[in-house]
Symmetry: D2
Subunit: 337 residues, 4 copies
């Protein structure tokens, strides 16, 4: 970390900053430039908040050289992390193909759909039991009943279960009843929740917040890792921009960027990014070639009857068609389901 | 709400939609246009999700005419809501001037600062005890100890207290110990938290999410109101855009827009929008003339020693200067502190 | 187009709007709803500006049902347009692989590079002669001299030439000396320039403006088509968002969206979207699988010595490696170079 | 400017960068840190493109310390620039109140309106003669005929004229016929046009591009100043964000930021930012208290009959009311019309 100090600064002002820096266990190396004084900080600067230094009037700029995340950082963990979710691996050469309905609606349909998905090549089942809805008047999910239905589908198919947790209240239930806890975009910086799941060892699917910079997303993973839970999977699901032809803008560049910065796997959710059916298959294929470690896709047996997100759900037949192409692409990429 | 249906639709497909609509307690009025069939829905459409209708293949478009919020809607509550926070009123002609440190640090400084703020004209004291921080390694706040310190300052000055609640775990403590519960930008769509605070009657300061559309913000207020708590105050604190000369972009137009759509008061927080000290005073004055119902400003006795956000805190002297102008502007606007 | 009129409107106010609408050669069909009066407009509404109708106080809303573009609209031209650029076809099954340096620097290097690109499979050569630069102090391009060099490279390789035109002054020169006129992102709504190139029959590569909605982009193509020039190729090169880990955010969803709305081909430029070398190959492959009709990629023989954009240029070797994979993907997609 | 070089770099690679830097007339000062080598550049770095340095593989980061604009920079020109537009001053204590119709429609109305505006306190007249329209089928303005009408209004009232120039073709006509040449948001980076107007000494009103960072906007001014024309006035007119309740998001913080960075005046256009009438008066008042050097507001005698932008035009009566308050605010701010 580099601090630029105005050349008009008095020595005792510079001393104050130096002492402050040293009080955090860091070393400050001073050099006098022609226009300013430069302090180079060494030590564990991941714990230093850039703004804490900008508050001094004599500071002209603070430049972070090393990333503020440590446990999520590929620099300190070169090899791809491989995460086991109920017997299915994800990361490195292992590809996650997670599919299922937006909301769990009833047992018969869920089991029947899960069987079809497995037959098409899916290796995990998603389903919403607790639903984050913009309106308090919209359907809020079946709750624990939904989790029970997902477990029946797991019994029949062996597919591990991915479902969204919205608050700490139901954490123990989720630890018991799901294989992967999904944290939704709106909760990406719900720090109380991140701390709580960091205390478990349950795999976490961490969706990117709608306006989260990649660095902030990595920092949210860092919260979970700092608590001791190493099993974090990123999920890019579109960011909010000015474009309104699609629900969100799929930031597909996030795939290579996250993979360069971190050893943790990243999957892509084209359903929530697009918000419309016809965009999804081409984006799923694109995500594979972008190097993603997996996909999450909404499928519903009868999208026109879905209780939520029907307009962005594929039918089982459309999903099956898509999987034929994806299998070929995975072969080219040297990955396996 | 208006649904456009393709002219290629079969009668039984149209019947299916009509029945679905009627199953929600609404009426559907059909008219046949030259290029499409139009269904006009009447009844309480606030509970209808536009996407639920878009999932039908024969639907070409769905247009909402009335807003999806009801209790927050000025259409059904013409007069400005006036909210009482520990004896201080906000809304209509009553202006809220809330100031204080980003984080509470210790009792002596907090009390001394509170006295100065009150002398300058502030009528509420803000202070962070539980802090949402991007990094798990940053200072996370004094916790309950911080709330105790704020209460000591309240005893000395009479200023009601505003502090941020980050999760449901400490809700009871906050109901006991603060006058206004602040919900931070990152939790604006933490629906579990919104539902919980909706069960209390404590005034809520609801900050706008960094990428929340105004309509979504109103829907988050609707969550609280739907629970029975009528005491919601909006707080515009900047939105995330491409511009990086300031920390966020202050959406000052949100003031007249929210006031047209809703009867609830809206305050502006220029400190978090700007992220740099020199921008704050002009923005505070601008917000008053934009018609805001209040301001929230960070003040620290010695910004260079602040534990957080020092770079965006005014000194008590700068705050006092600013208040002289603001008092004049409030007079022009016919508002009082 | 549908106009909603307040139920409080007087008859003579409604008459005024009706007459205004009819004065534009349209028909207005009135129906009286329970809460408002609805006017449905028929005729060529592509020429009607929504805002022109919103100006009336009694108008509550205006909803466009048909898109405002006509000649660019797939609805009126179902089959993919196929455009010939100096003997190379683009559109439908024909894929454009356009590569070359950001700026043309000298003849020897340009010819040598063009030969390598052709050998790797490129079928068009890009090169900047007139450069749009943020700073007036940056290198502004070789000008006409650059176009001459590109033509020497064309003589040696047969590759058609793509180069950017920045204003009407050099239009005749470009018509003579290039095969495709590129219009840069910053000029996407330079309407004088769009009108001028619409008067030629030269193929146009129309880059998307940094904050242009897809609909606006289609309208800029409409300007060119309205002038009589049918040869427009879209180029997605990233949009501006809050994310700063990459130079721009590649809106890869624009590929299926544009292809649904329009019959014109769309190519992807991953170099300008990413702004950093390591992101480019995966994005190029992703774009092919997203269904793009072509790619534009910056290649430089020695990126470290490039006069501009060296940090986002591939080497000829990296480009050749990438092409091997792309050839396989094109086969899967049923497309040929 | 500071360059960080990897500690794995060979000496001859470092030499190459050093020589490159020196070939641009700069000096490079090397210091060896514990983790990297640091090169500090001195000399006129305003001409150095950061990306030109990032292209070297051994470069880990490049940090600009001084702004890339020079003639627009307040650092080298401490006092506010004061610009004379046809006898009216703007800058420092001189406030510009520019008002008028979106499009000039006919002589009688224009003159009548100009008289009313002057009577209310306006000191400049705006009016569009050449109109940038998203659709080629929308009204494109009266052209030179519109400029003649504006000149008739000037004869009657003495108000200097502001009108938008869209391309170099009509530059001479504008130099003859207007007092201020307006460059629209869509042309902010039309560099050919910026260079051309830089060769004149006509005052320029430079609107901010819809997605232009403040630094880019200052660089566009630098293009004009570099040509020799010192008379540049900035105009903030809203930026494009995800929020769609208003047409654009007024970035009111741009006012203090631009004034800190530059000595040139900045005016605010609340009409184009809001896009709806009811938001405009409060924003105009807010802009004055934000410290703006002027306002540009659309006024039409009969907004419901306006040929363009009627929905965002005030009536002369609304404008007159607004001016009463603005006069009081200007007094408080120590500014005069």
């Amino acid at each position: 970390m580099i601090i630029h100090i105005s050349q008009n600064a008095c020595e005792n002002q510079i001393d104050e900053i130096t002492q402050f820096v040293e009080s955090m266990g860091l070393n400050a190396h001073r050099s006098n430039g022609s226009n300013r004084i430069i302090l180079g900080l060494t030590g564990d600067v991941s714990k230093v908040d850039v703004n804490t230094l900008k508050k001094y009037h004599i500071v002209e700029g603070v430049y972070r050289i090393t990333a503020p995340y440590k446990k999520a950082n590929r620099q300190f963990h070169e090899k791809d992390s491989i995460i086991d979710i109920g017997g299915v691996k994800i990361g490195g050469p292992h590809f996650l193909m997670c599919a299922g309905p937006c909301s769990v609606e009833n047992e018969t349909d869920t089991i029947e759909l899960a069987k079809k998905l497995k037959a098409s090549g899916a290796n995990a089942l998603r389903g919403g039991a607790f639903k984050p809805r913009t309106s308090p008047y919209s359907f809020q999910g079946l709750g624990v009943e939904g989790l029970k239905i997902l477990n029946e589908a797991k019994k029949e198919t062996g597919l591990p279960i991915v479902s969204e947790l919205m608050g700490t209240e139901h954490l123990d239930t989720f630890v018991d009843m799901v294989d992967v806890i999904q944290i939704g975009a709106r909760n990406m910086q719900n720090f109380d929740l991140l701390k709580a799941i960091g205390q478990t060892d349950k795999p976490i699917l961490l969706k990117r917040g709608m306006s989260a910079k990649i660095e902030e997303w990595l920092m949210s993973a860092e919260y979970i890792l700092a608590g001791g839970n190493k099993n974090v999977i990123f999920c890019e699901r579109g960011i909010r921009t000015f474009e309104d032809a699609t629900r969100n803008t799929l930031d597909i560049q996030a795939v290579p960027v996250v993979q360069k910065e971190s050893h943790l796997p990243i999957v892509v959710d084209p359903s929530h990014a697009a918000g419309v059916r016809y965009v999804i298959p081409s984006m799923a294929k694109a995500a594979v070639m972008a190097g993603a470690n997996g996909l999450q896709i909404e499928v519903h047996q009868n999208p026109e009857k879905a209780w939520s997100d029907g307009q962005q759900s594929l039918t089982p037949e459309e999903f099956s068609d898509l999987m034929s192409t994806i299998q070929l692409l995975l072969q080219m990429e040297g990955k396996t389901l």
